[in-house]
């Protein structure tokens, strides 16, 4: 699959198909703080899939680490472990682990904090979206981890895809590799679902299914790996439709409004809090290549590009497949990187950019 994507990407670059943003987009100057998080000696990040802050500035980091295992010699093969969630305070001091040994932490994909400071995790192997309250205690579970794994995974034993359009999924909280979660002002829950399905699923604040929209495809309202989701104060839903190389915008009922096709391959989204909200999107490099893409765009909510910063790479101020971003604060910007196993805390200096003009 990766090779296929790389080939696709190569073909598209050669053909000049994607309307990548012009070179005239201003660069936003920025710095990356050295060692923004202080780790205890026995805690190491692996692939860092998500970073999020709460209203106090605490930082939550979701990472693939430890040892994902399958136990054999049992009635069925069972999966255990592989992802952990850590909390740091605003100075970067380690506070605690949340969800230790959780049933749902296998191959994490995202962490987010809602307006009430609840912490939400998304796991694409356990197919769960888990809500922890601000104290770090379990508050809600959407989806269900498969009881056991198929090993070696003979195609004959695979469950039939649900009837209906490809990727439309089941009208419930049965996910297929979900990727991200967001909320509107009424606390309705929106799940990007995801790398297996190709839909957005909406639930009320008690987790009751309301509706889902989308299926696999390239038309407006269709998705190809919806990989990120964010919602503005008006309740508009922004979806990083990654493999269609666009951001789609919907109202809260799933009605298509517009799309932005000039920001590369959006892999992560965030929207700043009000009153003037900005949208950030990462044209993350593919995990196997640091010689393409990697920049993050700052946009108005209407799609106007204001600037960009960063590029793919392993050094400070370079990005290794950004998978999660937090932009709660205008000046402090957090990124979680997949292939470089780290988070960076960035200070953006758009004023400097303006002064240069």
């Amino acid at each position: 699959m990766r090779r296929f994507l790389q080939i696709c990407l190569g073909v598209m670059l050669l053909a000049g198909i994607p309307a990548l943003a012009q070179d005239s987009i201003p660069e936003i100057p920025f710095d990356s703080a050295p060692d923004p998080l202080k780790f205890p000696d026995n805690i190491h990040l692996g692939e860092t899939i998500g970073v999020a802050t709460n209203s106090k500035g605490d930082v939550f980091v979701f990472t693939r680490t430890g040892h994902p295992t399958i136990s054999l010699g049992t009635s069925r093969p069972f999966a255990h472990g592989g992802t952990r969630l850590f909390q740091f305070d605003k100075t970067g001091k380690y506070v605690r682990e949340i969800g230790k040994d959780s049933y749902g932490f296998l191959v994490g994909l995202m962490v987010r904090v809602d307006a009430q400071d609840n912490i939400w995790t998304v796991d694409q192997m356990s197919n769960t979206v888990i809500k922890f309250d601000p104290n770090g205690r379990l508050a809600m579970v959407l989806g269900r981890k498969a009881e056991s794994e198929r090993i070696p995974n003979p195609a004959a034993a695979a469950p039939a895809a649900p009837a209906g359009l490809p990727g439309a999924g089941v009208q419930s909280d049965i996910f297929n590799r979900p990727t991200d979660v967001a909320w509107d002002a009424a606390e309705n829950i929106y799940v990007a679902d995801g790398n297996g399905n190709a839909r957005i699923a909406k639930f009320d604040k008690n987790g009751k299914f309301i509706r889902s929209w989308g299926h696999r495809g390239t038309e407006p309202g269709q998705f190809n790996s919806p990989h990120g989701i964010a919602i503005d104060l008006q309740g508009n839903v922004y979806v990083a439709d990654r493999n269609n190389r666009r951001i789609q915008v919907f109202d809260g009922d799933g009605n298509f409004k517009t799309q932005f096709t000039n920001v590369g391959r959006p892999s992560a989204l965030c929207i700043t809090p009000g009153p003037h909200q900005y949208l950030y999107t990462s044209n993350s490099n593919p995990p196997g290549d640091i010689d393409v893409a990697g920049e993050i765009y700052k946009m108005e909510l209407n799609g106007q590009i204001l600037g960009k910063f960063g590029k793919a790479g392993r050094l400070m101020k370079e990005f290794g497949d950004v998978n999660g971003m937090d932009c709660r604060s205008d000046n402090e910007f957090w990124v979680a990187e997949m292939i470089t196993w780290r988070v960076q805390k960035l200070s953006l200096r758009p004023q400097a950019q303006a002064a240069k003009k």
């Binding site: 054999l72 010699g73 009635s75 969800g99 049933y103 579970v141 090993i151 089941v170 009208q171």
Partner: protein, 350 residues
């Protein structure tokens, strides 16, 4: 199970288009009075580094201590006091803990765990030490697919295939529901010696056959009540496993418990099916309170994820018939429910 799931999807699709929401075919009793209840907030107090996964089993002992058997990263068994305060973990790292299915406490306060991953029934004494095991964990894997395709061979006396629950009669005889692959109920004496079985490796819907026998309880007379889940009924046997009666007006009987005391009550949960399919919450999720003869006295609860609602009840404790403790699969929690049955009786009888 996979194959079963696949056909389930197909059946589901048909039913969905037919306007029904759930593969439930048996009637539910009508005009059953609702029993008012409330769920105690923050009932279990977990230490900061402990999290329940799927809350699969719950039981109390004579002191009111609560035992919770849960699927977290590993399957684990925890003990809490009667106020929900954490006491200890039992059987940490045990060879028999792989995929929790049931925990029960016998009249001598021994704690029994049923694990459908290791195919074991494990007895702990009240101190939390293993004193007896029945069944055997498969030694190693010669075939990467643990359950090879093809018909299930006849069951052996002492080996289980994904067992589900355990119960005890006043003489200490042991009854095991077995389970997802076998479809039988096995009776052992108190020393774990095989006595008798009913059902077989084949699922069936005739009286005395089972389709996923999923829960079991025994009354003070030694009668055996089996939650015959996928047959949407409960079957009642005498102590020698001779069928006595069938209760088929309580939806899918997922799990069953019987309160102690001179007047015993029977509880059965019509749990909402896993997956929360559209419409399923409207017609499932309630728990029935019954007389032992099957008369439904009342019902309570509904499907949902919020506090006080149920998200696939997997097990109940009814040592006190007015304080039911439920363990839920899909919300990874245990709730203590305070029932107020007097009001329900008043409104329905008079």
């Amino acid at each position: 199970m996979r194959r079963c799931l696949r056909s389930y999807w197909a059946v589901m699709a048909v039913l969905l288009f037919a306007g029904s929401a759930c593969a439930q075919t048996k009637a539910q009793a009508q005009n059953v009075p609702e029993i008012p209840y409330e769920s105690v907030p923050n009932f279990l107090k977990l230490p900061p580094d402990l999290y329940l996964g799927e809350a699969i089993g719950v039981a109390t002992n004579s002191k009111g201590h609560i035992f919770v058997y849960t699927r977290s990263a590993n399957t684990r068994l925890f003990e809490f006091d009667q106020n929900g305060k954490y006491i200890r973990e039992i059987g940490e790292g045990l060879f028999g803990f792989e995929f929790a299915h049931s925990v029960r406490v016998d009249p001598q306060d021994n704690i029994w765990a049923v694990d459908e991953g290791t195919n074991m029934v494990i007895k702990f004494n009240p101190a939390g030490r293993v004193v007896m095991v029945i069944g055997r964990r498969p030694e190693f894997v010669t075939n990467p697919i643990p359950t090879p395709p093809g018909p299930t061979p006849p069951p052996q006396k002492y080996l289980f295939r994904r067992p589900t629950d355990v119960a005890f009669d006043p003489q200490g005889n042991i009854f095991v529901t077995d389970g997802y692959v076998n479809h039988r109920v096995v009776k052992f004496d108190k020393d774990g010696r095989f006595l008798k079985q009913v059902g077989s490796e084949k699922p069936g819907s005739e009286p005395g056959q089972f389709r996923t026998p999923h829960g079991i309880a025994v009354d003070a007379q030694g009668n055996v009540y089996v939650a015959d889940r996928a047959n949407h009924r409960m079957q009642v046997f005498d102590n020698n496993l001779v069928l006595k009666s069938i209760y088929d007006n309580i939806g899918d009987s997922w799990t069953v418990c019987i309160s102690p005391g001179p007047h015993q009550y029977l509880f059965s949960s019509n749990s909402n099916p896993n997956g929360n399919r559209p419409g399923s919450w409207d017609i499932t999720g309630e728990i029935y309170k019954m007389e032992l003869d099957g008369t439904t006295l009342g019902r309570f609860g509904h499907a949902g994820k919020e506090h006080g609602a149920f998200q696939v009840v997997h097990m109940m404790d009814c040592r006190n018939p007015d304080e039911i403790i439920v363990a839920e699969i899909e919300s990874w929690r245990v709730q203590k429910l305070l029932l107020k049955p007097q009001r329900a009786v008043t409104s329905s009888v008079r």
